[in-house]
Amino acid sequence: MRFSFASLLRNAFSAHTGWPEQWRSPEPKAAYDVIIVGAGGHGLATAYYLAAEHGITNVAVVERGWLGGGNTGRNTTIIRSNYLWEESEALYDHALDLWQDLSQVLNYNVMYSPRGVMMLAHTVHDVQVSKRHVHANRLAGIQNEWLSPEEAKAFCPPLNISRDIRYPVMGAALQRKGGVARHDAVAWGYARAASALGVDIIQNCEVTAIRRGPDGAVTGIETTKGPIGAKKIGVVAAGHTSVVMGMAGLRMPLESYPLQALVSEPLKPVFPCVVMSNTIHAYISQSDKGDLVIGAGTDQYVSYSQTGGLHITTHTLDAICELFPMFRRVRMLRNWGGIVDVTPDRSPILAKTPVKGLFVNCGWGTGGFKATPGSGHVFAHTIARDEPHPKNAPFTLERFRDGRLIDEAAAAAVAH
């Protein structure tokens, strides 16, 4: 049933007893053309685009837990594309383009809200790095502009631009098309749309082995719901990628860290945009529901615990209260953790692997949500055509052998 105000009204008269399941929950078939491991936003988007754009509908998405329950449902939903390197710009801007009408395409209101993402600069070095981004982005046709502290405050009135604080705001880079979206709706929207096209989403189904043929090519997977055959497998398992790829004997350039986030109690609208400060580690926006949504940093050690240390949270709230001193009396409602898979160059891997038929989409680190539609779109292309889409062609595994890194972190590193 198509979602619309009319269908909502119609169902109101039947006490909403007429709504069908948003997605089917079938038992797995013996074999599929493609298996996607991981029903997060990226995996579901991949399945959707396989079906919608490549006509491959005999697809299973297998998920250890519940769909959208990993980083998709745990992140602070920041969407932007103002990355430094051309490879990243192209990939993330592709995603940003797809966000524009994603609600209409999926017939599911994902609440993409381009409220503007403002990234603060606190030191001369920050200013240099931010301006480098602004200039690079402009050349690449990506909207990103430099604001003075006063302009930054005009855009985000709660911001403290006093010169007397420890790290005064010296300016900001603003991407107006950046913003937020409703994370659950993204997962559910893709799940519903993919399911409608014939994709089987199989939850509570953990992969326990990857089966290979005599030629080394994949032939399927073993799961807690039995074996499932497929000649192509796309692993989109975020923090668990190393575990799944290990089943195929591959060691990955990844480490998985706890990443924490938190929300405040709901407040009347007080915060109009997204503000990020990489220097003092503060990431904040306000959800439609009214919560302040705040991202923290990662813990320092590899962990799959989905919890982190109090000092990480504390450090983040130090920064929030310094930049927005009126929020000191606001209260934390809930804190949680995810598991982020981080590559050495802080850029993702979207590629074929040395194992025939095995594809991997991982390494999104702390910022994968923004790329969800683009990631799924190009990964589906890669799986369907057995070759990468031009936009993900640089994001190979081989770059770590050759040294052709796409180092988004290095450019921001502080030295002098």
């Binding site: 060691r251 799959y304 000092h311 052998r401």
Partner: protein, 108 residues
């Protein structure tokens, strides 16, 4: 905040330490090392869900490096040992943990 036992200083809070990544990754000599070997040294990590042998440095204490085995799901330390000591048998340690858990389940 974890409680970490430095082999020299004893138990101390995590903020005194820096995690220095996976242990027992040998640095190759330049001679005869392929690009693949180099990538393995620089970038490939086991990143296990389970026991990890990792390096820590008690940076705000004795400043020494040491190794530890920790479970990455519970974040519990199993053992700490000196740099240069052989890598513990992680499979055997995991089996011990599992047996211990089973005993506690049965005993409850």
């Amino acid at each position: 905040m974890l409680l970490i036992t430095c082999p020299i200083c004893g138990p101390r809070p995590e903020i005194e330490f820096r995690n220095m990544g996976e242990a027992h990754i040998a640095r190759p000599t330049p001679e005869g090392t392929s690009d693949d070997d180099m990538a393995a040294f620089l970038y490939l990590r086991s990143n296990p869900k389970g026991l990890i042998a990792e390096r820590w440095r008690h940076v705000h204490g004795c400043a020494r490096f040491f190794n530890a085995v920790r479970h990455t799901v519970t974040d519990k330390f199993v053992t700490v040992y000196e740099v240069g000591a052989p890598k513990p048998d992680l499979a055997a340690l995991a089996a011990d943990l599992a047996a211990d858990l089973a005993a506690r389940e049965a005993g409850r």
